[in-house]
């Protein structure tokens, strides 16, 4: 490698930055600080055309280093951040916000609250309107912390029960927190975005004070307004709310349908399938089958006994009634190439039998129906089960043998 013997200020600082980066990646904090000390003088030079100037670099790097390596903990960190705040007015609120995050990570809720309040009252000419977005976030997080206080007060009240005057102040405090929180939370969720924690907290508040209509509206907006980015959690929250409200199965199903479309592997799919099976409509049953098959496409569900039992139950019903065998055929068509290796290998048969008898039972039933009595999974498990003289396995064997012709029709 040829080494440049020329050197200028720019190059020198670039090299310095490289050393800092390397040290940080290797978690050599002391070495990183050493080089950062030499980088600091870059602040005196104007880098206004660069993408990220020295003041931002020093803020980010310095925060990271001090976070991991400081002699007197938060005190040093805080004093550093205060300097960073004055360094670049254009970033003032952003620095405040990140400072708050650091404080929260360290469990310093009160300090975080104070910092947020201080930041909220900041005014600086036209900068106030330029940094409008950050301001909204600051207000939102303060709202979140207000909610947190509210929850604490609520907990105190519920523990003590409503007796006596000493709880009156707690109650008043609680309501005041509610008001403060509600205002800010409501504001932030108006803006299109992903606001899961804010939405949850806001809805919790509304439900507590009995404003179910507002809660429903908020959740519907969050889930269905096309301006908001697609967010499966929005539908989960809505579903959970509707369930709490005791809404009709119809509305619950429609909420979960969207979830199935976007996240077929979601954990609520079992509930969904159960709900669909209970329905009297044929279409719902069909959807239920689709839902449970889709969920089991995902590796995370491979060992989920409940899911397999749902599928097994439904397949059994269909086989016995001999109605709608074409449903199974349709679902199995796209899966016959890979499900055998994915779920029903001999290795898995052994492992499932060893680790989880119920799992192997349900899976064996499914395998027997879909792949026939001669498939390795079914053969192994049923053989083991019968050998161990477990009753249900004998029944299983009988069942599958009896309905083997059905298999032939499915596979044909």
């Amino acid at each position: 490698s040829s080494h440049e013997h020329k050197l200028n200020f720019q190059k020198s600082k670039e090299m310095c930055l490289n050393y800092i980066q390397d040290a940080m990646l290797q978690k050599q904090w002391k070495r990183a600080v050493e080089f950062l000390t030499f980088y600091i003088e870059a602040l005196e030079k104007d880098f206004s055309r660069e993408y990220m100037g020295p003041s931002e670099i020093i803020w980010r790097i310095g925060s990271e280093i001090l976070w991991h390596h400081s002699h007197n903990g938060m005190k040093e960190f805080n004093s550093f951040i205060e300097q960073m705040k004055t360094l670049a007015i254009k970033r003032y609120l952003k620095v405040c916000l990140e400072h708050v995050f650091h404080l929260l990570c360290n469990g310093l809720i009160d300090e975080a609250y104070q910092t947020l309040s201080l930041a909220e009252s900041w005014r600086h000419g036209e900068q106030t309107s330029v940094q409008d977005k950050e301001m909204k976030l600051i207000e939102a997080y303060r709202g979140l912390l207000d909610y947190y206080s509210w929850a604490k007060q609520k907990h105190i009240l519920l523990e003590h029960g409503q007796d006596g005057f000493e709880d009156l102040s707690v109650e008043q405090e609680m309501h005041s927190c509610f008001r403060k929180a509600a205002v800010n939370l409501k504001e932030i969720i108006k803006i299109p975005g992903v606001w899961d924690p804010f939405v949850k907290c806001y809805v919790d508040l509304l439900e507590f004070y009995g404003d179910h209509d507002e809660a429903r509206q908020v959740l519907n907006e969050y889930a269905y307004n096309s301006k908001f980015p697609a967010n499966p959690n929005a539908h989960v929250y809505l579903y959970q709310f509707l369930k709490r409200q005791g809404e009709s199965k119809k509305s619950l199903i429609s909420a979960l349908k969207i979830l199935h479309d976007s996240v077929p592997s979601h954990e609520l799919m079992i509930d969904f399938n159960t709900m669909l099976q209970k329905s009297k409509k044929r279409k719902k049953h069909r959807l239920g089958l689709e839902v449970i098959f889709a969920a089991l496409d995902y590796a995370g569900w491979k060992e989920n006994v409940k899911a397999w039992s749902c599928l097994a139950k439904q397949l059994k019903q269909i086989v016995i009634s001999e109605k709608h065998l074409d449903w199974i055929k349709q679902e199995w068509n796209s899966r016959r190439d890979w499900w055998p290796a994915f779920h029903f290998s001999r290795y898995l048969a052994k492992r499932n039998w060893q680790e989880n008898e119920s799992l192997s039972y349900e899976k064996a039933l499914v395998a027997g129906i879909l792949l026939g009595k001669d498939c390795k999974y079914f053969k192994y498990v049923s053989h083991q089960g019968c050998k161990a003289q477990v009753k249900r396995f004998r029944m299983l064997k009988k069942f599958v043998n009896k309905h083997n012709p059905v298999y032939l029709r499915i596979s044909g």
Binding site: S2, C16, K30, T37, S70, E76, Q83
Partner: protein
């Protein structure tokens, strides 16, 4: 000006010009109604004029500053540099006579173009106090030798006030944005005729003086001392006298933000020598430090190579006549002689010798080393035979360690000076606030890292790598014998290696593309690159510069063979 009326108020004859064109009395600041147009605009040399610009730029400024010219600043810098060189062991003659005379010559030559004086007028740099109004002038140019050998009583160049009269066309608007009187002018005027002074040129002046005196300091040494901080360069202006306020355009002139580049300083020095019409420099003979024989000895020691190689370098030097005084001595303005980089040349000679003995084609040198190792087993001579492999391991280890250290130093280099600078007065508070924050942050982080700022610079030394024969680990190769790789041939010890490969068959035209050859690492053997990088590190210069001189030497050495064989044959039988 020939305005000899007595002032109405104080009866003095001491006139200056406001920028409105009126005369004012310098003693009592009485402004007259007489305007410039009335007066004869021919300038006579023995009156001194100062033009004053409007606003806060009065003769004694409110901030305690005074008027100063850019060349005064450079004069100060040179003085500081000369003092530092003297502290490093350079003879005092350099500072007191040579350098200051070169500088005066420069001022003389450049001022001729600077001002509107008729030809033949000269201006001498003399420290003049405020009260005197007359400056001695000589009607004819003093002879150069006279200047150079003069040891003037006012050899000390320090001036407290502006010394030279200038009728520069400083207009009011331009002087506002610089602390010096002519700072802004500096970038405006057509610079073609005269050599405009720059910070790197101060080093050219120093080197020129060192060369004149044939001091034992090469240009690479000088520049290394600058970077190590032994010679003032970066931020030297912070030692300007209090009264010389620096801001605005001055910063562009005096603030350096890069290390001096060898080629730049070197080329400027030659330009300068020609510009000053200097005669042939004192001869470089074989007893001079800068002679290739001497420098080769030094570099061989530093590179930890056997002393016996010195015979070979001397032979090469003699064969291609680069040890002749005519080749080595600088004759300014002579375009036909090549400008010699003494340090690079010596390094290149050593590399050529290594190629002669070891071939350095990534095969032969290792075979030869194994062969020497074998012979070493039966070696009863008391001195081991030199083994390339062993030497390579030792040097590579040291070089890597030193290079790593150097790289870290480069990353840690601090450019800012103690004295904060501002471009203009309204930025002052902002700059000071920033400075305060920088200092605070530095203190905070310094405590955290636990490192102490090294209070002193390492002692300056001529050698960067040193090897001692007292080391029992065998890491010093100075005393090793080359017999392991030589063979007897007709009563003479000759290299076993019969071959040689040329770095380039054809040399480029230096004048058109600036180089004799174009070095690309991938095109050459790694061993060759290794020795290039060794000297590149020692001299702090790009490998390509050394490669150029290697090509030059090779072409001189194999000149006859090259002319004889028209077809390309890069491997030559010696």
């Amino acid at each position: 000006r020939d305005f000899n009326e007595r002032c109405a108020q104080c009866s003095e004859v001491n006139w200056g010009l406001t920028d409105g064109g009126r005369f004012y009395c310098r003693s009592c600041h009485n402004v007259t109604e007489r305007t410039r147009e009335v007066i004869n605009t021919d300038f006579i040399s023995n009156t001194r004029v100062q033009t004053i610009s409007k606003g806060s730029r009065k003769k004694e400024k409110t901030d305690g500053g005074c008027e100063w010219y850019v060349c005064e600043g450079f004069q100060f810098v040179l003085k500081k540099q000369a003092e530092a060189l003297e502290a490093l062991g350079v003879c005092p003659q350099m500072k007191d006579e040579i350098l200051c005379n070169f500088w005066r010559l420069y001022l003389q030559k450049s001022k001729q173009a600077y001002c509107d004086r008729p030809d033949g007028e000269t201006v001498k740099a003399l420290p003049v106090c405020d009260s005197s109004t007359d400056v001695e002038s000589e009607p004819e140019t003093p002879s150069l030798l006279h200047l150079l050998s003069l040891s003037e009583s006012e050899g000390d160049l320090q001036t407290d006030s502006s010394f030279v009269s200038s009728t520069s066309k400083v207009s009011a608007s331009t002087s506002v944005c610089s602390g010096s009187v002519d700072g802004s002018l500096y970038f405006m005027k057509n610079q073609k005729e005269k050599l405009r002074m720059t910070m790197p040129m101060t080093l050219s002046f120093c080197y020129m003086a060192l060369l004149w005196l044939r001091e034992p300091m090469t240009l690479s040494d000088l520049l290394r001392f600058v970077v190590e901080g032994h010679i003032p360069y970066l931020n030297v202006f912070q030692h300007f006298p209090e009264k010389m306020k620096l801001y605005g355009v001055d910063l562009k002139i005096f603030c350096v933000e890069s290390w001096p580049v060898y080629e730049e300083v070197f080329n400027k020095m030659h330009e300068l020598a020609a510009f000053l019409d200097l005669p042939r420099f004192p001869d470089i003979t074989d007893s001079c430090f800068l002679h290739p024989d001497m420098l080769c000895m030094k570099y061989l020691m530093e590179a930890n190579l056997p002393d016996e190689l010195h015979d070979w370098t001397c032979r090469v030097v003699k064969k291609i006549c680069i040890g002749e005084a005519d080749f080595l001595t600088l004759v300014p303005g002579n375009k036909s002689t090549r400008k010699v980089k003494y340090d690079v040349l010596a390094a290149a000679v050593i590399i050529v010798v290594l190629k002669l003995l070891f071939l350095l084609d990534d095969h032969y040198e290792w075979l030869l080393s194994d062969f020497a190792e074998e012979r070493n087993k039966n070696n009863k001579e008391g001195r081991p035979y030199f083994e390339f492999k062993k030497w390579y391991k030792v040097i590579k280890c040291s070089l890597d360690a030193e290079q790593k250290k150097l790289d870290e130093e480069r990353a840690k280099y601090q450019w800012r000076c103690e004295k904060p600078l501002f471009y203009s007065a309204d930025k002052k508070s902002k700059v000071l606030k920033r400075r305060q924050m920088v200092v605070n942050l530095q203190n905070q982080f310094r405590k955290l890292s636990g490192s102490v700022q090294p209070a002193e610079k390492p002692n300056p030394s001529s050698f960067q790598l040193s090897w001692s024969e007292e080391n029992t680990d065998g890491s010093c190769f100075h005393g090793h014998s080359l017999k392991g790789i030589l063979q007897e041939k007709r009563g003479v010890l000759a290299a076993m290696n019969p071959d040689y490969w040329l770095c380039t068959v054809e040399l480029c035209r230096e004048r058109s593309c600036g180089h004799l050859a174009h070095y690309r690492e991938v095109e050459f053997p790694q061993s060759y690159h290794f020795v290039l990088s060794l000297f590149s590190f020692l001299l702090r210069i790009q490998p390509s510069s050394i490669h150029d001189d290697v090509c030059l030497i090779e072409h001189k050495l194999f000149n006859k063979k090259l002319c004889k064989k028209p077809k390309y044959n890069t491997v030559i039988r010696k």
